[in-house]
């Protein structure tokens, strides 16, 4: 809509895409490394925004728009809301990020995963160039084209998303609801406090 492919110089496009890509990765790294949940949310926000820039460069401005709308507008806010609700940042930052899985293992494993995938894409697959401009322009990424496809070819999926959101809403509201009628805390459960303490002690023992 605003930025259509080809209306800006190719070099600038690729530069922008590289920058946005690096930004997205940086945001994701912030998520992983941030000591506090609040910063992790901000990292997600960076990633989301950078990705939407990529979408625009990929000639998909509608999805970029929706991405900003849903993620920046709803998901991130929701996360922030929960962070505030649980008052995490003020009282306790994650004391040690060292979880049960060692750093080396986790990084090694995910890196191996990434390398395998990238090798597959770079060295083994010969991908086609982006569809010839003729095709690309013949299906302008207007709201109309998407809308028509959505409601013609993906009608069932569209309805299914509605059902999904209904189910998610029911589940979320029910689970997060504080005071159910006729409910009482399960007496069979152990008292949370000592349990948590024991777990913390166990975790502490493992750390060194």
């Amino acid at each position: 809509m605003i930025v259509l492919e080809g209306s800006i110089p190719a070099a600038l496009t690729s530069l922008l895409s590289v920058v946005a890509g690096l930004g997205a990765i940086a945001g994701a790294l912030v998520v992983v490394t941030a000591p506090r949940a609040f910063r992790a949310v901000m990292g997600l926000l960076i990633t989301v925004v950078c990705l939407s820039i990529e979408y625009v460069l990929l000639a998909a401005p509608v999805i970029a728009f929706i991405q900003i709308l849903v993620y920046a507008g709803a998901v991130v806010v929701l996360f922030l809301f929960v962070v505030m609700l649980l008052d995490l940042d003020g009282s306790r930052a994650e004391s040690s990020s060292r979880g049960p899985v060692r750093w080396e293992w986790a990084i090694g494993g995910t890196a191996a995963f990434f390398m395998i995938g990238v090798c597959g894409i770079y060295y083994l697959a010969k991908l086609p160039a982006p569809a010839a401009p003729a095709v690309s322009e013949a299906t302008p990424d207007g709201v109309q084209a998407i809308g028509v496809t959505l409601l013609r070819d993906y009608l069932v999926s569209f309805e299914a998303v509605a059902v999904f959101l209904l189910a998610a809403a029911v589940a979320a509201i029910y689970v997060a609801h504080a005071h159910g009628r006729g409910e009482k805390a399960d007496p069979a459960e152990p008292d949370p406090a000592p349990e948590a303490g024991a777990a913390g002690a166990a975790a502490g023992k493992e750390a060194p």
């Binding site: 895409s17 509608v62 999805i63 994650e94 894409i121 160039a129």
Partner: protein, 97 residues
């Protein structure tokens, strides 16, 4: 195109790393969001590759799914914190082998 796919895979891997590494349940959920975003990016990339709208439509619907999932996840975290006091994965210790 390969570059975008590599970016997608990188985001996916970093997201997975976040889930594996972090103990804070909220951060784990955020990391999952990163993973889902990576998948959506792949959809858009392939949509561009084929010049068809299908991938973009799938992406839009997938964004909705991701949002729904995170809502349920946050609700569960809230319920969990009510019971156990902190959103920490190490506090999940009632269910054992």
């Amino acid at each position: 195109m390969s570059g975008y796919l590599a970016l997608s895979l990188a985001l996916f891997s970093i997201g997975a790393l976040g889930v594996v590494l972090r103990r804070n349940l909220l951060v784990m959920l955020i990391s999952i969001e990163v993973m889902l975003n990576a998948a959506i990016l792949a959809l858009v990339v392939f949509s561009r590759m084929y010049g068809s709208v299908d991938g973009r439509v799938m992406g839009i619907l997938a964004i909705a799914v991701a949002a729904g999932e995170v809502a349920v996840g946050l609700a569960l975290v809230i319920a969990f914190v009510r019971l156990r006091g902190r959103p920490d994965a190490t506090a999940m210790d009632l269910l054992k082998w």
